[in-house]
Amino acid sequence: MAHVNTRVDVPVTIDQDKCIDGCTLCVDMCPLDSLSIHPDSGKAYMHVDECWYCGPCAARCPTDAVTVHIPLLLR
């Protein structure tokens, strides 16, 4: 039986086309410091797979670039 050793999805995804280079709102708001600005693209991404599903990153994103994938059993 094959085992899944690496997660291919993360709780928070950021649409790189919508994310604004230079904006750090979601990074500043994350209570777990799970989001970061990628040094190459200048766009936000989830660099630590930890999430409380609290939601301000998505709610306050000026361009609706952030999506929080809340697990079914937590909805």
Partner: protein, 307 residues
Amino acid sequence: MTGSRSARILTLLALADEAPEADELAEFLADPEPDVRRTALTVLSEATEDWANGSTQVAAALLDPDASVRRTGIELLAELREVLVADEEFAAVLRRAGQHADPAVRTSAIGTLWRHHRATPVEAAGYLGDPEPAVRAEAVLALVSLRAAGPLEQAAADPAAEVRAAVARGLGSAGDARGASTLAALATDPDTAVVTAAFTALAETGCPPPAAALATEALRHRDWPVREAAAKALAAAPAELAAAPLTAATGDDNLDVRKAAVRSLGHLAPDLPGVTAALRTATGDPDADVRAYARQALLRYPQPTER
């Protein structure tokens, strides 16, 4: 308008660190891009201290052509209730929003008006003709806050159950005995949520004999929330009418109904037939809450003399 949309958003976010005056954000609030207008609203809500001007700007978001900006405006009007300055200009913008095609905007407009004490009974009653039940339910809350009994009676005949339930809850929170006849009518409603709300409200307004008869009958209803609400209503009914049905309800299958019955019995005089015996029996109930309320009720009664 200078720079790209992204640049203007970045300018706005930089401005947020400087506690901007509402006027400084006016340019961004009128930006052609909805994303910029929405961000300007959030910056306004989080950074400004100039609520004399900022309040009207938040209210004006309800009139925005973009639905996401309007939604942000609706959220902020609820979130910032404590700080908004409800002057004439603010109220005038909300009155315009009350005619908007978006029902969520109309609901927010009348809700904000009454919560800031800017709605009149005539104005609130006007919303009872709105095609959207959520708007009419908000108008009912406005009428309750204004103690406008006449229009509330009219709303009790609304075709939507959520509006009729709002009327019942509103009359209960007003606690005015004059609302009991309307509540008695709502207690025969075909919708059980309305019936439950009506009996719960009768516990607050007082439950006169015709309503007490309905509550007694409702103790045999198939749905336990109705039986529970009826048991609560009987606490406010004449004791001689309430004692027997409440005593019987202490043997209900549902623990919430038994608990309500025991609590209501605790309001009655102990010399009524069966009351003390029913409470003593309830001290052996399988549910801890029922036992506790029964013990509390018995403690309030004079203790029999020991021989």
